[in-house]
Subunit: 323 residues, 2 copies
């Protein structure tokens, strides 16, 4: 009669859930719709019922040891979702309390970036690391900072906004936050696309990207082009790596990390960025940190990371660490 932890990943369309063992194996998983659900309490009830049915159908005990919930705009310190534009309910949503009450076991709420970092720490590339910075490259650039074995949350649960770290006078791209020169204007999917469009404009180099209308070029196309050796696409990734490397040199002065871990769709291009990133980081870093920091890709698959991370959040709170 095994009992597992339940990881839940709440998005705007569906809530995914999975029973996760302490070694990071997903035992069984399912989903319930979020979009038309009238309240978060009802959603959690539907998740519990669906999870219980799933467990019964597979012959294991349906009561988890703990429930970890990942959601956008979630604050782990308060256990509330605050100001999410993706969910159909009013903020603040006390989701940790709702889950704890519904399941009758300890529950933890965490956000996407933090869940990814905890998942990585318990089951992935950061296993055994106590000091690392996770950079999530996707639509935006997210980050999570683990120092001395603890995820830094900060005074208002908003530590680790390194996507909005500003890079200085040479970096002038306007950002959605209203400022200019934020890291994510260079290292997010749209940032990478802006870099490629710039190169297409200032050079006459041949590129398969010229065969696509400019407003249809995406980071995915640039990645695909790079895998086929397209020089302009490769140049785009090198420039992206350089900008990241320069920022990573400065981040080191903060928390003295042993590794940077890259997660998210855009991070699939890490092999094309890594050399330039490493060179630029080492060129700009304080001597104390020279040659001490690894650059690692995530080891969690994108689809499973959110669920494993949510489960890891409650396992960590409950004092469980994997072997």
């Amino acid at each position: 009669m095994n009992r597992y932890f339940l990881g839940i990943d709440i998005g705007g369309t569906n809530a995914e859930f999975a029973y996760v063992s302490t070694d990071g194996t997903i035992i069984a998983s399912g989903r319930v719709p979020v979009k038309d659900c009238p309240s978060p309490v009802l959603l959690m009830n539907q998740i519990r019922v669906a999870a219980a049915e799933l467990a019964a159908s597979q012959g294991f005990d349906s009561v988890p040891f703990g429930v970890g919930v990942g959601a956008p705009a979630a604050r782990q310190d308060t256990g509330c979702i605050e100001g999410s534009t993706d969910l159909p309910w009013e903020s603040p949503i006390p989701m940790a309390a709702i889950a704890a009450k519904e399941f009758g076991v300890p529950a933890v709420l965490t956000n996407d970036a933090n869940a990814a970092a905890l998942g990585e720490m318990m089951f992935g590339a950061a296993k055994g690391l106590n000091n690392f910075i996770m950079l999530t490259l996707g639509t935006g650039v997210g980050s999570a900072i683990v120092a001395d074995g603890q995820l830094i949350t900060g005074a208002h649960g908003q530590a680790g906004e390194l996507g909005h770290f500003t890079l200085g006078a040479d970096f002038t791209r306007p950002c959605s936050c209203g400022r200019a020169g934020c890291l994510q204007t260079y290292a997010s999917a749209s940032g990478v696309t802006r870099t490629a469009l710039g190169l297409l404009e200032i050079s006459d180099a041949e590129s398969v990207l010229r065969e696509i209308p400019a407003d249809e070029i995406t980071a995915k196309y640039i990645y695909d082009a790079a895998t086929h050796g397209d020089e302009l696409a490769l140049h785009t990734w090198r420039l992206t790596g350089e900008v990241l490397g320069k920022a990573m040199a400065n981040f080191a002065s903060f928390s003295d990390p042993e590794a940077y871990i890259f997660f998210g769709g855009v991070a699939q291009a890490l092999p094309f960025m890594q050399n330039a990133m490493k060179d630029e980081m080492e060129k700009n870093i304080l001597f104390l940190y020279s040659d001490k920091i690894q650059i690692l890709p995530s080891r969690l698959s994108g689809a499973e990371a959110a669920l494993l991370g949510a489960a890891a959040a409650v396992m960590k709170t409950e004092g469980l660490m994997p072997k």
Copy 2:
């Protein structure tokens, strides 16, 4: 029969020591010479003997509950002093172990910046704060970062080197670390002096600083001139505040602090820097952190801070927090 904690501050010339109560009162203090002492073991023995005599003369129990040692180039994680150029003994010096053996009580080693932060947290301006960044402005710029109630130490005990945070393309002053544009080339005593010398050169403004030979101008003179309303000196401090404010805006994205606390000789000029610093920080900060961060002067006197901080380091490790 009260028992107290012993704070020790080891410098190149002397080792100061003080019995400290859990409310941060220095009960009694003394010193022994370091310079010609043949070994760190002998030094610690001399400290214990001197401390015992002091306690006997004042009629209290000489055995402290714990010993906190502050020293340059000290690593709290290993308990060793490594590569100090100020002390007459070979590195690594296992000073925490030496103190624990000599006194027969728990002992903790910490460095200057961390000791100051812990002292501030237990007895000073950071009392009750769990998230703050301490910036020590002096010969260099040191820092200590407390996040979620814990001092960040990092993978190699070298977290919090914010004096060597580089400010971007507009900031080109060479730094002693071999790079350029580090915060401390603007905000240390010599950085402030460079700023004043630059202003003296590019302007014809009257200033009492023109009465001093350029190579004799110090941050102290510039502070004194500012207290007398000297406009060029005031301008120097405003510019220093602006550079700090810009950097502080970026630091916020890291650990979401509730306060910056300023310590050290140059920080006495905080009243002249504070408005410009606050304006520039708020102008450059991510909206998430707007109007949430206090700027505070240290509340520990310079002479006592090292001893109180060293004592605080062992009190914190022993689970003691002041009322």
